[in-house]
Symmetry: C2
Subunit: 427 residues, 2 copies
């Protein structure tokens, strides 16, 4: 095996080629073990186009694709942690800590990892394990989970979100639209899908910084009651409503979606369902069923999957505790027992990839500011989360579903969808 | 109870009022039983706005709504058969035989019956019973079931379908469009949704008289392989392809969908899934999965439900044996295990109500011709089926889902849906 010398080995087929190099300094007994571990790590990640630089200085490649990045692993413990079911989480933590460093095209590397076929049983085992670990989003836990992510400070989000502070998938009418334009277009798209009429009452479950509620009130003439459990977001939203003279028509309430009462002509929830968890879909259905008027419409907008798989352990533990991305089957199954009729489903996954590219570029442009506020480790962790999410939506690992529905017996439903695409002055 | 005399009884609340009249001639012992049975029948149908004229001549009404029709029941056996779980089937058979006659607004009456709330356990019992009775659509049984409905003769269908012979839900760009325009618009809508490119290969499962396959070949420049198990339809389709010079590009094959092989850029099935049965959704998925190219798209168009309920016994036995209308959850669940990504769902139920209104009017205009061909009993049965279907789609008892999908890893998917609504010269 020519340990301790400059070597390159390549399989005859080329399909499963491997290259290993050791640049002196490694103990002779450890070097082959280190390289064997590294090859196993690369194989289980689907042989990404990567040169792995090991603690000993050995370099390992796997697969035929030319490497687009170099990944340095600082110590043997970090390398060993990349084996086993928690590998993704360990990788994320080590990357955040700087024990793993990546030089080169991180985004291309993540795209390749997300594209690589993974063995079915590993995926199933992982999703089963995470399902067992994910705790139900009780009222108290929901607040804690939301606080974990959304109460990082309005100043932080203001650095890299659009000026409306919309932290959900945008809608780019053309691929060239700016993020600011695309977030306004998304809110208008949602308002149009709901076919809102002036004077109608809208309930919004999970309102973020309030941009959609304010948009619907201003441009569709409706009243809105919008709930959220993030105090930092609510303060911002209320202040904006006062400043813009909409406080009489838009009410921001500190309430969990399960506590929503009253009657509405439209029920809307954009980017909350991911945080509800399937154990509580029946709760959400009951809220919709008890609040929606006989001719009411509703829209659920959520990150989703083609197949039922939990979020990866890095996202599930470090970024969005308690979250679960439903399949479309699970989303429409939520509505089924209440005889709610699905009118329209649109999958906007490529729009979320584009949205995240914008966020990532702005995040990187403010990297130093954010590091001063929240530390270097946080910046590295979030960079990985944003770039990983870009890869997830680009590769079809993640989906974005908008589901429009109405009461099953209502005939005040749109005749076609042509009205959604009529040109009109941008709001 | 004033039997044998002109009487009218009305509850004080008005909500559950009843009127009963007996015009002599009835045996004293039978009249109260007959009336009690009639009231039970009316209650179980949700107290429709109807005057029931019983064999003895007694007239019974139930509920507060003014009657819009009179229903005459010829004999005691027919009346008794309207009690119990097979009531709908017995009603349909008696109507077809003329043992039940309806004077007045049959369509309004059916709409009211479909709108009336029914007790949950009756519906569940009925659906469970029909589920047990419905036999799986094996290859042989599928052919028999298709033959039952679709091989009634091309001349028969030509009397009341549009000139393209399309026997599925049309798409009315405006409510004023004619049936001929709306069927062409539907085929164009499907072609646009699939984003077909000239030279691509399309597989069509269940092609009817071939109109869609020929439309796609002519207006989208694709080649089509279309299958059907109805010999009468295939002969018509092949003759039309020859006549229109498209036989080189459109191949009509006598094959069950399960036998389809080859590779396609688009897989389309319009109005077949209702006949597949949920036991065979996995078969259909396997066909799609083995034929669809990596950047392929697919479209399933099917009658459906908001909640999982079998067809009523009249339709299930007399009109569409073996058929089952899936919920949207069941339709997208069909695609899930193959990592197929749903891009777009559109619910066209009001378009199917409109389509059926056109068919019913044309059917009625040719009533005498059809009676000569197929008998008076057939005409009455089919009138009931068409009018009942109008009611089903009008009242939200039935849905029509178009589900567009692509391979989960394909990024050659449309950016928005705006292209579907661009004005262009009608084909």
């Amino acid at each position: 095996m020519n340990l301790g010398a400059q070597t390159e080995q390549r399989g005859d087929t080329g399909a499963a080629s491997a290259a290993a190099t050791a640049r002196g300094g490694a103990d002779a007994w450890w070097a082959p073990i280190e390289r064997a571990v590294a090859e196993r790590v690369l194989a289980s990640a689907g042989s990404p186009p990567l040169t792995l630089v090991l603690p000993s200085g050995q370099e390992v490649r796997h697969g035929a694709a030319p490497p687009i990045a170099r990944m340095r692993v600082a110590d043997a413990g970090t390398l060993l942690a990349l084996l086993g079911p928690s590998a993704e989480l360990r990788f994320g933590d080590a990357y955040a800590d700087g024990r793993i460093a990546i030089e080169g095209d991180l985004q291309g590397l993540l795209d390749a990892v997300f594209r690589a076929p993974r063995s079915g049983w590993m995926t199933r085992l992982g999703t089963c394990w995470r399902w067992l670990r994910r705790r139900s989003n009780s009222l108290g836990r929901s607040r804690a989970n939301v606080h974990h992510h959304y109460d990082l400070g309005n100043d932080f989000y203001a650095l890299w979100l659009d000026r409306e502070m919309v932290y959900t998938c945008a809608y780019f009418p053309t691929a060239e639209a700016s993020l600011e334009e695309a977030q306004v277009a998304k809110m208008e798209h949602v308002g149009r899908k709901l076919r809102l009429r002036p004077g109608e009452m809208v309930l919004e479950a999970g309102c973020g910084w309030g941009a959609l509620a304010l948009h619907l009130a201003r441009h569709h003439g409706v009243r809105v009651r919008a709930c959220n459990v993030s105090v930092a977001q609510l303060e911002w939203a209320r202040e904006r409503a006062r400043r813009e003279g909409l406080a009489q028509r838009v009410e921001f309430v500190e309430e969990d979606y399960r506590s929503l009462t009253g009657r509405c002509d439209a029920f809307v929830s954009v980017g909350m369902l991911e945080h509800v968890g399937p154990e509580h879909y029946a709760d959400l259905r009951r809220v919709i069923d008890r609040t929606l008027a006989p001719d009411g419409r509703g829209l659920l907008h959520s990150i989703g999957r083609n197949r039922p798989i939990e979020f990866g352990p890095f996202v599930a533990r470090r970024i969005f505790p308690g979250a679960y991305p439903p399949t479309l089957r699970e989303m429409v199954g939520l509505l089924e027992p209440a005889d709610l009729s699905v009118l329209d489903v649109e999958n906007l996954r490529l729009h979320y990839a584009r949205t995240l590219e914008h966020w990532l570029a702005r995040f990187e442009a403010h990297r130093d500011d954010i590091a001063k506020q929240l530390g270097e480790r946080f910046v590295r962790m979030w960079h990985l989360y944003l770039a990983g999410s870009v890869a997830g939506f680009r590769t079809g690992t993640l989906q974005l579903f908008q589901v429009l529905f109405a009461r099953g017996r209502s005939n005040t439903i749109p005749w076609t969808r042509e009205d959604l695409y009529r040109r009109s002055p941008a709001p």
